[in-house]
């Protein structure tokens, strides 16, 4: 018990993960951080990327988050994601197709607003692709 920390990952669409972990890795706004139990309280924003949860029995769970916020208390990590997916739910073909669409939209350069949207979308999708590639390597 002493060397574990409670992890809750929630998104606006529902609870994604809740359980204990020995180590958690998150993509914080100013660089990835690793959280061990009894971490100092910290509050930060998240960028799109992968949250990895190492459970006490040595398993590792991957989750994709599309930005959000993170709260750390010594005994608890709360990830408030804007969108979140289990790694297993990511569909590589769909992600690549969406990435291509976003790139095309960026090239066509519509209005200012859609440009910003397309860029943000591209960042999220690039993070998903990166995560998928890493997953494939470890398999």
């Amino acid at each position: 018990m002493a060397n574990t920390i409670n992890v809750d990952i929630v998104s606006a669409e529902g609870e994604i993960y809740s359980g204990r972990a020995s180590m958690v890795f998150v993509p914080a706004a100013q660089g990835d951080i690793g959280i061990a139990p009894r971490h100092a309280p910290l509050l930060t924003t998240l960028k799109a990327g992968e949250v990895r949860v190492q459970t006490p029995d040595g398993e590792e769970h991957g989750f994709y988050v599309g930005g959000g916020a993170l709260e750390i208390q010594p005994q608890r990590v709360t990830v408030l994601a804007d969108t979140a997916l289990r790694a297993a739910d990511l569909d590589e073909a769909a992600v690549l197709a969406a990435k291509q669409r976003a790139e095309e939209a960026l090239r066509e350069r519509g209005s200012e607003v859609s440009l910003a949207e397309a860029q943000a979308e591209l960042v999220r999708l690039a993070a998903q692709v990166k995560m998928l590639q890493r997953l494939r390597k470890t398999k």
């Binding site: 809750d8 706004a29 509050l43 930060t44 208390q73």
Partner: protein, 286 residues
Amino acid sequence: MAGAKEIRTKIASIKSTQKITKAMEMVAASKMRKAQDRMRAARPYAEKIRNVIGHLRVANPDYRHPYLQERPVKAVGLIVISTDRGLCGALNVNVFKQALGAIKDYQAQGVGVELCLVGSKAVQFFRRLRLPISATVTHLGDRPHVTSFIGTVKVMLDAYAEGKIDRLLLVNAEFVNTMSQKPVARQLLPAEPVRSSELQDMWDYIYEPSAADLLEGLLTRYIESQVYQGAVENVACEMAARMVAMKSATDNAGKLIDELQLIYNKARQAAITKEISEIVGGAAAV
């Protein structure tokens, strides 16, 4: 025979009303299931973010965001969430009663009230009372989206930031179960502190990036998520209340039809008896 025909048409009309209420009941039942799923899905996020903000209140930061500071209350803002359509029992009335109770309490203390209304029933109700209304959103449909609230929430947040209101409350119906929905008034701003045994004394967060930027975004997100949660919950309540109201309407229509049928039968029999006695009387006279 007087009345028999009228009773017959009356029965027919009640029967067609009963068909409508039955259909509405079934539609509400199926919508309720979906609305309940959405409500359950949105709950964890709303609860977790409320906890985080509550922790912020008990932290001891160098920087205090205005949304987290108690200040003397001269005016309050109320966000009242209601349904867009009627025929859902006493749901809206209960929510309005709760809101009015709060308004009266504040007014008795000489505190001004500003309203922000969600749903056309609330707009209809509060417009008649001539209370100051600063923002309204209506016709959100059965699947309210977070983006629909951003504008209204902004109006209230700006009012709070400018000092026009010193407290922000959210009034909506909370889903307990299908049979019962409870109106609740919850304070959004300043955020209510959450105390927990897990927390140490005298601590503060490490903020990344700066506290000011971070809190601004996080607190706005917090209010939006709370209002969104309130709206989603209200939709689930609306469907449940409508289902129950329509079920009792259907049952009542059934009872009414039975009673009328009895009256009709009696009237018909009385007419027949009368006719027979007339014929018998006529035959005797001959």
